[in-house]
Protein backbone atom coordinates (compact mmCIF):
# COMPACT_ATOMS: atom_id res chain seq x y z
CA UNK A 1 0.00 0.00 0.00
CA UNK A 2 1.42 3.38 -0.91
CA UNK A 3 2.08 6.29 1.41
CA UNK A 4 -0.78 8.50 0.18
CA UNK A 5 -3.35 5.79 0.95
CA UNK A 6 -1.86 5.30 4.43
CA UNK A 7 -1.94 9.04 5.11
CA UNK A 8 -5.58 9.25 3.96
CA UNK A 9 -6.43 6.37 6.33
CA UNK A 10 -4.59 8.20 9.11
CA UNK A 11 -6.63 11.35 8.42
CA UNK A 12 -9.92 9.42 8.58
CA UNK A 13 -8.92 7.72 11.86
CA UNK A 14 -7.88 11.12 13.26
CA UNK A 15 -11.21 12.68 12.33
CA UNK A 16 -13.12 9.74 13.86
CA UNK A 17 -11.06 9.88 17.07
CA UNK A 18 -11.84 13.59 17.29
CA UNK A 19 -15.39 12.50 18.13
CA UNK A 20 -14.18 10.51 21.20
CA UNK A 21 -14.23 13.43 23.67
CA UNK A 22 -17.75 14.35 22.48
CA UNK A 23 -18.83 10.72 23.00
CA UNK A 24 -17.23 10.76 26.44
CA UNK A 25 -19.20 13.82 27.51
CA UNK A 26 -22.50 12.12 26.64
CA UNK A 27 -22.06 10.31 29.94
CA UNK A 28 -20.54 12.90 32.32
CA UNK A 29 -19.33 11.55 35.64
CA UNK A 30 -21.44 12.34 38.66
CA UNK A 31 -19.39 14.16 41.28
CA UNK A 32 -20.75 11.99 44.08
CA UNK A 33 -20.56 8.59 42.43
CA UNK A 34 -19.10 7.06 39.30
CA UNK A 35 -21.76 5.10 37.51
CA UNK A 36 -21.31 2.18 35.11
CA UNK A 37 -22.07 4.24 31.98
CA UNK A 38 -19.23 6.67 32.72
CA UNK A 39 -16.80 3.82 33.36
CA UNK A 40 -17.76 2.01 30.15
CA UNK A 41 -17.57 5.24 28.12
CA UNK A 42 -14.16 5.97 29.62
CA UNK A 43 -12.82 2.48 28.86
CA UNK A 44 -14.18 2.57 25.28
CA UNK A 45 -12.77 6.06 24.66
CA UNK A 46 -9.33 5.13 25.95
CA UNK A 47 -9.35 1.84 24.03
CA UNK A 48 -10.32 3.60 20.78
CA UNK A 49 -7.49 6.09 21.17
CA UNK A 50 -4.97 3.39 22.10
CA UNK A 51 -5.91 0.81 19.46
CA UNK A 52 -6.70 3.01 16.46
CA UNK A 53 -4.61 6.10 17.23
CA UNK A 54 -1.37 4.47 18.29
CA UNK A 55 -1.91 1.66 15.78
CA UNK A 56 -1.93 4.20 12.96
CA UNK A 57 1.09 6.12 14.29
CA UNK A 58 3.03 2.83 14.60
CA UNK A 59 1.83 1.64 11.19
CA UNK A 60 2.91 4.71 9.25
CA UNK A 61 6.15 5.45 11.07
CA UNK A 62 7.58 1.99 11.82
CA UNK A 63 5.76 -0.88 10.12
CA UNK A 64 5.37 0.40 6.55
CA UNK A 65 8.06 -0.37 4.00
CA UNK A 66 9.01 3.05 2.62
CA UNK A 67 11.44 4.02 -0.09
CA UNK A 68 13.90 6.91 0.28
CA UNK A 69 11.54 9.63 -1.02
CA UNK A 70 8.68 8.45 1.19
CA UNK A 71 10.98 8.33 4.23
CA UNK A 72 11.92 11.97 3.59
CA UNK A 73 8.23 12.92 3.34
CA UNK A 74 7.35 11.05 6.57
CA UNK A 75 10.27 12.71 8.38
CA UNK A 76 9.22 16.18 7.24
CA UNK A 77 5.55 15.41 7.98
CA UNK A 78 6.48 14.25 11.52
CA UNK A 79 8.32 17.51 12.17
CA UNK A 80 5.55 19.76 10.92
CA UNK A 81 2.93 17.44 12.49
CA UNK A 82 4.50 17.92 15.93
CA UNK A 83 4.77 21.68 15.33
CA UNK A 84 1.04 21.97 14.59
CA UNK A 85 0.23 19.54 17.44
CA UNK A 86 1.99 21.76 19.98
CA UNK A 87 0.41 24.89 18.50
CA UNK A 88 -3.16 23.50 18.47
CA UNK A 89 -2.86 21.79 21.88
CA UNK A 90 -1.52 25.06 23.32
CA UNK A 91 -4.71 26.81 22.17
CA UNK A 92 -6.98 23.95 23.30
CA UNK A 93 -5.34 23.92 26.75
CA UNK A 94 -5.47 27.71 26.97
CA UNK A 95 -9.12 27.79 26.06
CA UNK A 96 -10.11 24.67 28.01
CA UNK A 97 -12.46 26.57 30.28
CA UNK A 98 -13.95 28.64 27.45
CA UNK A 99 -14.77 25.96 24.86
CA UNK A 100 -17.99 24.23 25.83
CA UNK A 101 -19.41 20.92 24.58
CA UNK A 102 -23.05 20.35 23.68
CA UNK A 103 -24.33 19.78 27.23
CA UNK A 104 -22.63 22.75 28.98
CA UNK A 105 -19.49 20.75 29.83
CA UNK A 106 -16.25 22.62 29.19
CA UNK A 107 -13.25 20.84 27.63
CA UNK A 108 -11.38 21.22 30.94
CA UNK A 109 -10.61 17.63 31.99
CA UNK A 110 -11.11 16.15 28.52
CA UNK A 111 -8.48 18.24 26.71
CA UNK A 112 -6.02 15.33 26.75
CA UNK A 113 -8.31 13.32 24.47
CA UNK A 114 -7.49 15.74 21.64
CA UNK A 115 -3.77 14.86 21.74
CA UNK A 116 -3.83 11.74 19.53
CA UNK A 117 -6.47 12.87 17.00
CA UNK A 118 -4.85 16.29 16.57
CA UNK A 119 -1.49 14.61 15.96
CA UNK A 120 -3.00 12.18 13.43
CA UNK A 121 -4.76 14.97 11.56
CA UNK A 122 -1.78 17.37 11.52
CA UNK A 123 0.67 14.55 10.60
CA UNK A 124 -1.48 13.17 7.79
CA UNK A 125 -2.39 16.58 6.35
CA UNK A 126 1.27 17.66 6.40
CA UNK A 127 2.24 14.38 4.70
CA UNK A 128 -0.44 14.72 2.03
CA UNK A 129 0.51 18.34 1.29
CA UNK A 130 4.24 17.50 1.18
CA UNK A 131 3.73 14.45 -1.06
CA UNK A 132 1.76 16.55 -3.55
CA UNK A 133 4.64 19.04 -3.79
CA UNK A 134 7.57 16.57 -3.82
Amino acid sequence: MNLTKQLKKELIVGLLLLLVPFFYTLFPSNEMSTDAKTTIAGILSNLAVLVFGFGRIYGVNFKMKLDEREKTIVNKASGSGVFFLILIMFFIYGLRNVIVFHNHISINEYWGFFLVPVFLISHSLSGLILSSFE
Partner: protein
Amino acid sequence: MKNTLHILRAERRLSQDDLAKLLDVSRQTINAIEREKYDPSLPLALKIAKVFNKKVEEIFFLEKEK
Protein backbone atom coordinates in the same frame (compact mmCIF):
# COMPACT_ATOMS: atom_id res chain seq x y z
CA MET B 1 19.20 18.22 -11.79
CA LYS B 2 17.97 17.06 -15.19
CA ASN B 3 17.57 13.46 -16.29
CA THR B 4 16.69 11.36 -19.32
CA LEU B 5 14.85 8.69 -17.37
CA HIS B 6 11.53 8.99 -19.20
CA ILE B 7 13.29 8.66 -22.60
CA LEU B 8 15.25 5.59 -21.50
CA ARG B 9 12.13 4.07 -20.01
CA ALA B 10 10.17 4.66 -23.21
CA GLU B 11 12.99 3.10 -25.27
CA ARG B 12 12.88 -0.03 -23.12
CA ARG B 13 9.05 0.00 -23.20
CA LEU B 14 8.91 -0.08 -19.43
CA SER B 15 6.02 1.40 -17.47
CA GLN B 16 6.68 3.48 -14.35
CA ASP B 17 5.30 0.59 -12.34
CA ASP B 18 7.66 -1.94 -13.98
CA LEU B 19 10.68 0.25 -13.32
CA ALA B 20 9.53 0.89 -9.74
CA LYS B 21 9.37 -2.87 -9.13
CA LEU B 22 12.85 -3.37 -10.63
CA LEU B 23 14.27 -0.68 -8.36
CA ASP B 24 12.21 -1.62 -5.30
CA VAL B 25 10.70 1.86 -4.91
CA SER B 26 7.16 3.23 -5.32
CA ARG B 27 5.71 4.30 -8.68
CA GLN B 28 5.26 7.81 -7.26
CA THR B 29 9.01 8.03 -6.68
CA ILE B 30 9.74 7.19 -10.34
CA ASN B 31 7.18 9.79 -11.38
CA ALA B 32 8.76 12.41 -9.08
CA ILE B 33 12.25 11.67 -10.50
CA GLU B 34 11.00 11.93 -14.10
CA ARG B 35 9.27 15.24 -13.41
CA GLU B 36 12.52 16.43 -11.76
CA LYS B 37 10.73 17.11 -8.50
CA TYR B 38 12.96 14.69 -6.60
CA ASP B 39 16.68 13.97 -6.94
CA PRO B 40 17.44 10.32 -6.16
CA SER B 41 20.14 9.30 -3.69
CA LEU B 42 23.46 8.00 -5.05
CA PRO B 43 22.57 4.31 -4.42
CA LEU B 44 19.25 4.73 -6.27
CA ALA B 45 20.94 6.60 -9.13
CA LEU B 46 23.49 3.76 -9.40
CA LYS B 47 20.66 1.20 -9.41
CA ILE B 48 18.89 3.12 -12.22
CA ALA B 49 22.14 3.28 -14.22
CA LYS B 50 22.59 -0.47 -13.76
CA VAL B 51 19.05 -1.22 -14.97
CA PHE B 52 19.61 0.80 -18.18
CA ASN B 53 23.24 -0.34 -18.52
CA LYS B 54 24.48 3.26 -18.65
CA LYS B 55 26.75 5.52 -16.63
CA VAL B 56 25.08 7.67 -13.96
CA GLU B 57 26.23 10.88 -15.68
CA GLU B 58 24.59 9.79 -18.92
CA ILE B 59 21.21 9.68 -17.16
CA PHE B 60 21.57 12.47 -14.59
CA PHE B 61 23.28 15.78 -15.29
CA LEU B 62 23.26 19.39 -14.16
CA GLU B 63 21.28 21.82 -16.30
CA LYS B 64 24.39 23.76 -17.48
CA GLU B 65 26.09 20.62 -18.74
CA LYS B 66 23.77 20.09 -21.68
